[in-house]
């Protein structure tokens, strides 16, 4: 009865979903042997290099790991304000 009650009112806070989400994030870093701190350093360096050539929107600049089944990729989203001539 309680189960039914809980389901009717939705249990989006089911703790297993929290566990899965946290695991997904931590494993991405574990698998790449790269801590969030090192990833931050990498972002800063990337930003420096690209800024030499392009005017980047620093607010929207994003670098993340992304996992597709067995393989991993580093995905960067780099919004450009304007070409630096």
């Amino acid at each position: 009865m309680f189960d039914l009650f809980a389901r009717v009112f939705g249990r989006e806070d089911a703790s297993k979903d929290v566990a899965k989400e946290r695991l997904r994030l931590v494993l991405v870093h574990d698998r790449a042997s790269l801590s969030p701190q090192v990833l931050d350093d990498l972002k800063t360096d990337l930003l420096k290099v690209i800024s030499k050539y392009l005017d980047i929107d620093q607010e929207g600049f994003q670098v993340e790991f992304s996992r597709h089944d067995e393989s991993m990729a580093l995905v960067a989203n780099i919004p450009i304000k304007r070409r630096r001539v």
């Binding site: 189960d3 695991l23 067995e70």
Partner: protein, 265 residues
């Protein structure tokens, strides 16, 4: 020529030793000739879980150092004459043995036994490297908890880096009622995260504590749910196709009454 299987997990306390004891006894029960190696040097426990602690004379380190012959160190299980245990040394540490020595030992044992099961210590250091050195196949034990799954993922990566075949996953101590509530990761969640093939799902079962108290593997107990899960793993290891049964809820009084009334919970 037999097959060497290492049972490992990374994290401690998730049930490596219990799993080794039960699969070993299960394989022996099914008629295979089985040897168990306790590779947890300095923290031996497979002997007590098997109920063989009073019969140890020599150990793994004695054999590797040439101080004792293998057949003198192997302890015969009285319940199954085709099951033997090579205990770990208790007064030494992991550095007493090298991966090369372990590999040679396992190779020798594979000539005589159908299955050589190696109980790995927790961790990823030398003890783990020793344990996997001679193994043809690896079983990774993980419980549906964040810390255990994280460590299992690390171990799977290390096994692959060491040129081992893709390991198989044993999900241990799963609690169907919690899974149903959404408060525990289920089988699909764990397979999705770890991306390995499943070989067994063992439910949480008080019978494990009782059987460990007595030194009698639960696989011998026909009424134990965990024992049944171990019997299924045993059959899968022997090459049988065994379907994974649906997880059943712990039999609460309420559940039992409902089932008696023919109502499905």
């Amino acid at each position: 020529m037999g097959e060497a299987i290492v049972i490992t997990s990374g994290k401690g306390g998730v049930g490596k030793t219990t799993t080794t004891a039960n699969i070993g006894a299960g394989l022996a029960q099914a008629g295979s000739k089985v040897a168990l190696i306790d590779a947890d040097i300095g923290l031996r426990n497979l002997d007590v879980v098997m109920g063989l602690e009073n019969r140890i004379v020599y150990d793994l380190v004695d054999v590797v150092e040439g101080f004792a012959k293998l057949r003198h160190a192997l302890i015969k299980d009285k319940r199954f004459d085709n099951l033997q245990l090579l205990p770990a040394a208790q007064t030494r540490d992991k550095t007493a043995v090298s991966p090369e020595q372990m590999k040679d030992l396992v190779e020798t044992m594979k000539e005589e036994f159908d299955y050589v099961l190696i109980d790995s210590p927790a961790g990823i250091e030398q003890g783990f490297k020793n344990a996997i050195a001679g193994a043809d196949k690896a079983l990774v034990v993980a419980t549906p908890e964040v810390s255990s799954v994280r460590d299992a993922d690390r171990i799977i990566g290390l096994l692959e880096a060491n040129d081992k075949r893709k390991p198989y996953l044993i999900i241990n101590r799963i609690r169907p009622a919690m899974v149903k509530r959404g408060d525990m990761m289920d089988i699909d969640d764990m397979i999705e995260i770890l991306a390995v093939e499943l070989i067994g799902v063992v439910p949480e079962d008080e019978a494990i504590v009782v059987s460990t108290n007595r030194g009698e593997p639960a696989v011998m107990n026909q009424n134990s749910r965990a024992g049944e899960a171990y019997r299924q793993i045993t059959r899968r290891l022997r090459g049988e196709e065994v379907a994974f049964p649906k997880l059943e809820e712990e039999s609460s009084l309420f559940g039992r009454i409902r089932r008696m009334m023919g109502l499905k919970g």
